[in-house]
């Protein structure tokens, strides 16, 4: 309970700080008043059209990645699992890259996220078809690796054959992941998928708890493993696909956040779901504030920062796993 309050307070504080961070020099009170009051003055425009969507997206996407990571680790009973494991991020990125390459993304504002979502959808169907309805956790991992590898290869092919260096440049930058220059349109595209996916994942808590005892014991306690697995795949695909569609690939949040918070919830995978949702939002809000403060003129990419922070944490995780003799 205390943990929940701490995490929720952290989310609120960072959300407000995110709203107050930006190149436009506006006082804290003025900006918050303009945000609430609205109107046509430039301060209200900056707050409502630039900073609010950015903070909302950091909140939604961070929460999504944290939640999906906790669910994936709980299902696979492996602390090294990542929501990208089932190939959704890779196939969403491929969809986005194709729309940039063909120029559709430049012509219509929502073409890029829509095409990324289509990519995620195709990816998840391919994984479901490959892994089968009854398959084990291992077949799911293998199917995910296969789809990720294929999507990665096709993305490289698009870059390789790209006749237009500007498009190639744009693709590379997009794939680094960022929340800069996103609008309420992006929030509107991602929100329904994230909301539905988050509800699906949150409902897995009981089943993930039961899986602590293994698949056989969980099934004997009345957990429908087929439904659990389907909920996990579709829910993860919805939240991660939508996140990747609007923000590009942002790594390590879903991997590191559940791992850090696990000891605080007594390692119970069900309780870790909500804790990790709040924790993911905190990490991404903080990272998105940091990219605006560290190198404000150079447009430091969010995905680059999360990887720079996340990879050493991941190394620490591997080291401590080895030390515990697991």
């Amino acid at each position: 309970m205390r943990l929940m309050l701490c995490l929720a307070a952290g989310v609120v504080v960072l959300f407000v700080v995110s709203l107050l961070t930006g190149p436009a020099e506006i006082g804290a009170r003025d900006s918050l008043r303009a945000l609430v009051a609205g109107g046509d003055d430039p301060v209200a425009m900056v707050m409502r059209e630039i900073r609010l969507p950015r903070a909302l997206l950091a909140l939604m996407i961070g929460g999504s990645l944290g939640l999906a990571g906790a669910a994936m680790q709980g299902y696979l009973r492996n602390p090294l699992a990542d929501p990208g494991l089932i190939g959704v991020s890779g196939s969403a990125a491929l969809g986005a890259v194709l729309s940039i390459q063909t120029g559709v993304a430049g012509a219509v504002a929502f073409a890029l996220p829509a095409s990324a979502l289509a990519g995620a959808l195709i990816g998840v169907f391919a994984v479901l078809a490959l892994a089968g309805p009854r398959g084990s956790a291992l077949t799911l991992i293998l199917a995910g690796i296969a789809i990720s590898a294929l999507a990665g290869a096709l993305t490289s092919l698009v870059l390789n054959l790209s006749p237009n260096p500007f498009a190639a440049n744009e693709i590379v930058f997009w794939m680094m992941g960022s929340l800069a220059d996103r609008s309420m349109v992006h929030v509107g595209i991602a929100l329904p998928f994230i909301a539905i996916g988050a509800v699906m994942l949150a409902r897995l808590a009981r089943g993930l708890d039961a899986l602590t005892l293994g698949e056989d014991a969980a099934a004997a306690m009345g957990i429908d493993l087929k439904r659990l697995r389907l909920g996990l795949i579709v829910g993860t695909a919805a939240v991660v696909g939508a996140s990747t569609a609007v923000a590009g690939a942002i790594g390590f949040v879903g991997l590191v956040v559940p791992h850090i918070l696990r000891p605080f919830v007594g390692a119970r995978p069900g309780a870790l779901l909500w804790a990790s949702t709040l924790g993911g939002a905190i990490m991404l809000l903080a990272a998105d504030i940091a990219v605006r403060l560290i190198l404000p003129e150079r447009d430091l990419k969010l995905g680059v920062l999360t990887a720079l922070v996340g990879a050493p944490l991941f190394l620490h995780l591997i080291y401590s796993t080895r030390r515990d003799g697991l």
Partner: protein
């Protein structure tokens, strides 16, 4: 009244017939030992009864809707899996999952306390389950199955790897539950324990149920030779029926 009805149960795995025409009924308060050599089909039989694998024939437990089976039968698999470093109390509380709509009630807490006490684990309640020794983990997992408080308890080799004292106390605990009206089915390899603590033995050999009855009636020299390939010494003593395997044939 019969608690479990199994009729003409057959299982084929990958085209190979693993179980053939197994039929038996279990009444309330029976302490049943399921014995047989390695690969005889003991685990397969229990999993089929629970509806965890496809089978032909009738199992009254598998006829119950999957979501409510957990209230009727508790299952302790042979693989002693504890995936996360949760504490002992939280792990045992997982046994309450079939009963819980949402949050744990006082009823659930009381069941967990009883299970802890039954297995002598009360002082371990706050320890991390994955850091306990193998035998202690086995007892925690037995307590988890007890916390489910189902009328039928099925355990696959629950005493394997326990020290003699805890093997005996676990069997005594199961026998005590049986006296309270719970029916217990345990698979085990220790024929001495089976002879001493079970009220009834089922012998599975090459996928068939070859004997069913009281330990003394079942564990004859002929059966031990034909099914297990061993000789044994047995006697009716002042401590009851005692059996000691002697030589491999």
């Amino acid at each position: 009244m019969s608690l479990l009805h199994v009729k003409d149960l057959e299982v084929a795995l990958r085209g190979r017939q693993v179980l053939e025409h197994v039929s038996f009924d279990v009444a309330r308060g029976e302490m049943i030992g399921l014995i047989g050599p390695n690969g005889a089909g003991k685990t397969t039989l229990m999993r089929a009864i629970l509806g965890l694998i496809p089978f032909q024939g009738v199992s009254s437990v598998a006829q119950i809707a999957p979501a409510s089976r957990g209230k009727y039968a508790a299952w302790m698999p042979q693989a002693r899996e504890i995936a996360w470093p949760v504490n002992v109390r939280a792990l045992i509380a997982l046994g309450r999952i079939p009963h819980m709509g949402g949050r744990a009630t006082a009823l659930d807490d009381a069941a967990v306390d009883r299970a802890l006490a039954h297995m002598g684990l009360t002082k371990f309640a706050d320890r991390t389950a994955t850091r306990l020794s193998g035998g202690e983990q086995a007892r925690v997992l037995i307590a988890r199955a007890l916390a489910q408080e189902a009328p039928l308890l099925m355990a696959d080799e629950p005493v394997a790897g326990l020290d003699p004292r805890h093997q005996i106390s676990t069997m005594t605990c199961f026998a005590g539950l049986a006296r309270e009206g719970v029916s217990v089915i345990v698979s085990l390899h220790d024929l001495g324990l089976a002879a001493r603590h079970c009220t009834r033995l089922l012998v599975v050999h090459e996928g068939k149920l070859v004997a069913d009855g009281a330990p003394q009636a079942v564990l004859t020299p002929d059966l031990l030779r034909d099914v297990f390939g061993i000789t044994s010494f047995s006697a009716q003593t002042q401590h009851g029926f005692v059996l000691q395997p002697l030589e491999a044939l």
